[in-house]
């Protein structure tokens, strides 16, 4: 994935994989190479897209957000925000981009898309959406979904989500995703028609499997622990960061009060007046500088939040594995017990308790014909069961192989992104320090001239 150059300071960094970019940047998804290579991969059931679309490089922007009113499912008036998604294809030769599609979507449609992807690509670590409600707020930030700063950060988060999907070698080829970007009307119906909601595994089933599975792949168990730790540590970090931001805001803003008082005081001073007045001005500059600083930091927090939410995506893959493994174990167990029953019927020995055996004892032996019939049924079932077990086994191994490939991909992405994020945090701190040095040097000069 490439990144359009932004301001000079950022250019000093090595070109990173940085989907969470500056608000005005359009980021490109160099999909073609990866898509080519991934053509034969995956057991996803999503339908394939037109190859033409993905052979060109595309640019996806969530460029605008707009407040709208409409009627919800209960036919009540509601206010919501709609986001404009613009897709451009970039010609190889001259690098010019042409707007190919442009439509409006709201957050709930993004959720629908993601839920669909979760069902059809259970072996993929599906990129998360930006948060539904503002969490880890510090006092200045509004927790209101309609707040312009929140909407702006959400716009960036949604763009990031689309870019993540578009740059994923398997997900990018999904037709529903393609339609999400290109077909405004009727898209919801199209998604629902896939019947994905019915295919989704019930939470209860998954929970049951998690508790009862006997031999899950150890790597998935470790991954689960890792994702729990990741979630816990990032939450903690975000909470503390919010408190630190709050306090820092306080320190800066109180200095602003100096400005006003110095100015009033300068009125009665002859020699000191000018120095006081201009020093006061610098105090005002200092106080107001914190707003931009903390806004930049919010973007950093959003980068961390993405990985906080990714933890849940990791857990989803682990859950699927546990479910499949449990299913496999149950099927194997069932087959074993049927085989046993069959053997007992054939040899006439009863080693295991069976209701039939009980009733036979109580109500009399069954006829040889009846016994033959039962053996035949069992043999059929065993044969079927063996086939099923074989295919489940195959499925399970395929799943593990593919999931693990995506997990490796995810790990590398995570390491790159987090390293970048930490570097960008350092850059922010450096900028803040430089501003501070400047303001206080100016103030010092004014003070020393008093």
């Amino acid at each position: 994935m490439e990144q359009a150059p932004r301001d000079p300071e950022r250019q000093l960094q090595p070109a990173p994989l940085e989907p969470l970019g500056h608000p005005d940047a359009g980021l490109q998804a160099a999909v073609s190479e990866e898509a080519e290579g991934a053509r034969d991969e995956g057991s996803g059931e999503g339908t394939m897209t037109e190859n033409n679309f993905w052979l060109k490089k595309i640019e996806i922007n969530v460029s605008e957000a707009e407040k709208r009113t409409g009627r919800n499912a209960m036919n009540m008036q509601e206010t919501y925000t709609a986001y404009l998604i613009e897709t451009r294809s970039v010609e190889h030769t001259d690098g010019q981009s042409v707007l190919t599609d442009s439509l409006w979507r709201r957050y709930s449609e993004f959720e629908l898309l993601r839920n669909y992807l979760l069902v059809y690509y259970p072996h993929i670590v599906v990129p998360p959406l930006p948060e539904k409600r503002a969490e880890f707020v510090w006092h200045k930030l509004s927790a209101d979904n309609m707040d312009p700063d929140f909407v702006e950060r959400r716009r960036i988060g949604l763009e990031n989500f689309l870019l993540r999907v578009a740059s994923h070698p398997i997900l990018c080829r999904d037709k529903i995703f393609y339609l999400f970007l290109t077909q405004e009307g009727n898209w919801k119906e199209t998604v629902n028609e896939t019947g994905f909601q019915l295919k989704a595994d019930s939470r209860l089933k998954a929970l049951n499997a998690t508790f009862r599975v006997k031999n899950p792949d150890k790597r998935f168990t470790e991954l689960k622990h890792y994702s729990d730790e990741l979630q816990s540590v990032i939450s903690h970090l975000l909470r503390v960061r919010a408190r630190v931001a709050d306090r820092l805001y306080g320190v800066y803003k109180v200095h602003g009060n100096y400005g006003r008082v110095f100015s009033e005081w300068s009125a009665i001073e002859k020699e000191m007046g000018d120095g006081l007045q201009s020093a006061g001005h610098h105090m005002d500059v200092y106080a107001s500088s914190i707003d931009d600083i903390l806004e930049d930091e919010e973007h950093y927090a959003d980068q961390l939040k993405e990985y906080l939410f990714y933890a849940e995506a990791l857990r989803a893959v682990c859950r699927k594995h546990e479910l499949m493994q449990y299913d496999l174990e149950m099927a194997a167990q069932d087959l074993a017990s049927k085989k046993q029953q069959c053997e007992e019927l054939a040899t006439g020995t009863v080693r295991t308790f069976s209701l039939k055996g009980m009733t036979t004892k109580l109500f009399g032996q069954e006829t040889p014909e009846q016994r033959e019939a039962r053996i035949k049924v069992l043999e059929e079932q065993i044969s079927e069961g063996e086939q099923q077990l074989k295919s489940k086994n195959l499925e399970g191994r395929e799943f593990v192989k593919n999931a693990w490939a995506d997990i490796e991909r995810f790990k590398e992405q995570k390491n790159r992104d987090l390293k970048e994020a930490l570097i960008s945090y350092a850059v922010m701190q450096i900028s803040m320090c430089k501003k501070g040095i400047q303001v206080w040097t100016n103030a010092k000069e004014c003070f020393s001239k008093m």
């Binding site: 306080g250 109180v254 206080w440």
Partner: protein
């Protein structure tokens, strides 16, 4: 004894030592050095109180020795201040630290309170020592040199309590007569000090608030670094980056602590002293007004021929001298005070700005070194595994 060296035992901070010398009208002639230290708690059946050790080093002839060590309690300082005000009603006597801090004090004698008071008491005595007139005051000398019993007996001399009270009552009555006859220059002075007092009070509050906010920021920062270390435990590939960030945050936290202590050492006490000083100056203005009012009332009496005119004329003559003396004393001292105030405020705020610059420079250095380490590593890594770029 070498007068230009300070004994290493003296607890003066470099900043305050510099400040002391700055006040000097004639730096080369400073011949009286005073330190206040070693607060000690004394418990008697009636009360508990604190005494401070006062060491005086001097080369002056009128002192019997070149070094003195005495113990004084706050009450003694109050006595000294009272005597100075009595002897020089229109000179600006330095302020004493408050008797009690009104809000948030559970125990009168917690460590911060005692330390703040000690510094302020030292400042008080040095201000007097630097004052061209007050430095030669007899009571001041007694305060610095007399043993405890000597001081007690010295205190008992002088006008009694009742007569002092009488003066105060008369003074209040006279001041009620208004200030309509206040000369122009003193009107200006009054306007100035009223506004100054307002502003310096606000600045005092703002500065205290900044200290509080910095304290809270520092407390949160203490937790911030360690989380990154915790995280590094589950991330093999990010250990360097995370620990690096943790280190930077810890350094910044330390730098904040340093900034805070700079604030509490220098800016806060300096600003607060001027809060108290402005009250003193307003008091001095009132006393000047009272002296003038005395004259005015006698002059008025003369016009109405209320009493023996010859006696009145004689009294008026004396009072006119008194007023002239008082006015001249105040004018001179006012100039001196204003000059000092400007220097003190200027240096206090300049130092604060310097502390802030230093703070940001330290933080900058630590983050820059982290960034350097990361980008070097990063360059290596990305050139290895980066896919073909367009």
């Amino acid at each position: 004894m070498d007068m230009n060296s300070f004994s290493p035992m003296m607890p003066t901070s470099p900043l305050s030592m510099i400040n002391q010398v700055k006040f000097e009208d004639e730096p080369d002639l400073k011949d009286l050095f005073i330190t206040v230290d070693e607060p000690e708690s004394h418990v008697t059946t009636i009360e508990t109180f604190i005494t401070y050790r006062i060491i005086t080093k001097t080369s002056r002839g009128e002192f019997d020795s070149s070094e003195f060590e005495v113990r004084r309690r706050y009450q003694d300082f109050l006595w000294l201040k009272g005597k100075l005000e009595e002897a020089h009603p229109t000179l600006i006597i330095p302020p004493l630290p408050e008797k009690f801090i009104v809000k948030g004090m559970v125990e009168r004698f917690n460590d911060d309170f005692i330390e703040t008071r000690r510094k302020a008491l030292q400042k008080f005595l040095n201000r007097i020592a630097d004052h061209p007139t007050l430095t030669f005051n007899e009571d001041f000398k007694v305060f610095l040199t007399a043993q405890a019993w000597e001081l007690s007996s010295h205190k008992k001399q002088g006008p009694g309590l009742l007569s002092r009270m009488g003066q105060t009552v008369r003074a209040v009555a006279l001041s009620m007569r208004g200030v309509k006859s206040r000369p122009e220059e003193f009107m200006e002075m009054n306007n100035f000090i009223e506004i100054f007092s307002q502003k310096i009070n606000l600045i005092d509050k703002i500065s205290q608030r900044i200290y509080k906010e910095e304290r809270e920021y520092s407390d949160e920062m203490k937790e911030y670094g360690p989380i990154h270390v915790l995280w590094s435990a589950s991330e093999e590939d990010l250990v360097d980056s995370l620990r690096g960030v943790a280190r930077c945050l810890d350094q910044c936290c330390k730098a904040t602590e340093k900034r805070m202590s700079g604030l509490s050492e220098a800016l806060l006490p300096a600003v607060h002293e001027y809060v108290l000083y402005s009250e003193m100056v307003m008091g001095v203005m009132k006393r000047r007004d009272q002296i003038q009012a005395e004259l005015d009332s006698k002059v008025e009496a003369l016009t109405y021929k209320k009493a023996d005119t010859d006696l009145l004329i004689e009294e008026i003559g004396k009072l006119e001298d008194k007023v002239e003396c008082a006015n001249n004393a105040l004018k001179a001292d006012w100039e001196r005070w204003k000059h000092n105030m400007q220097n003190d405020i200027k240096s206090a705020f300049t130092d604060m700005a310097e502390e802030n610059i230093h703070y940001y420079e330290q933080c900058l250095a630590t983050w820059e070194s982290f960034l350097a380490s990361q980008t070097d590593l990063h360059m290596e890594e990305t050139s290895e595994d980066k896919p073909e770029s367009h």
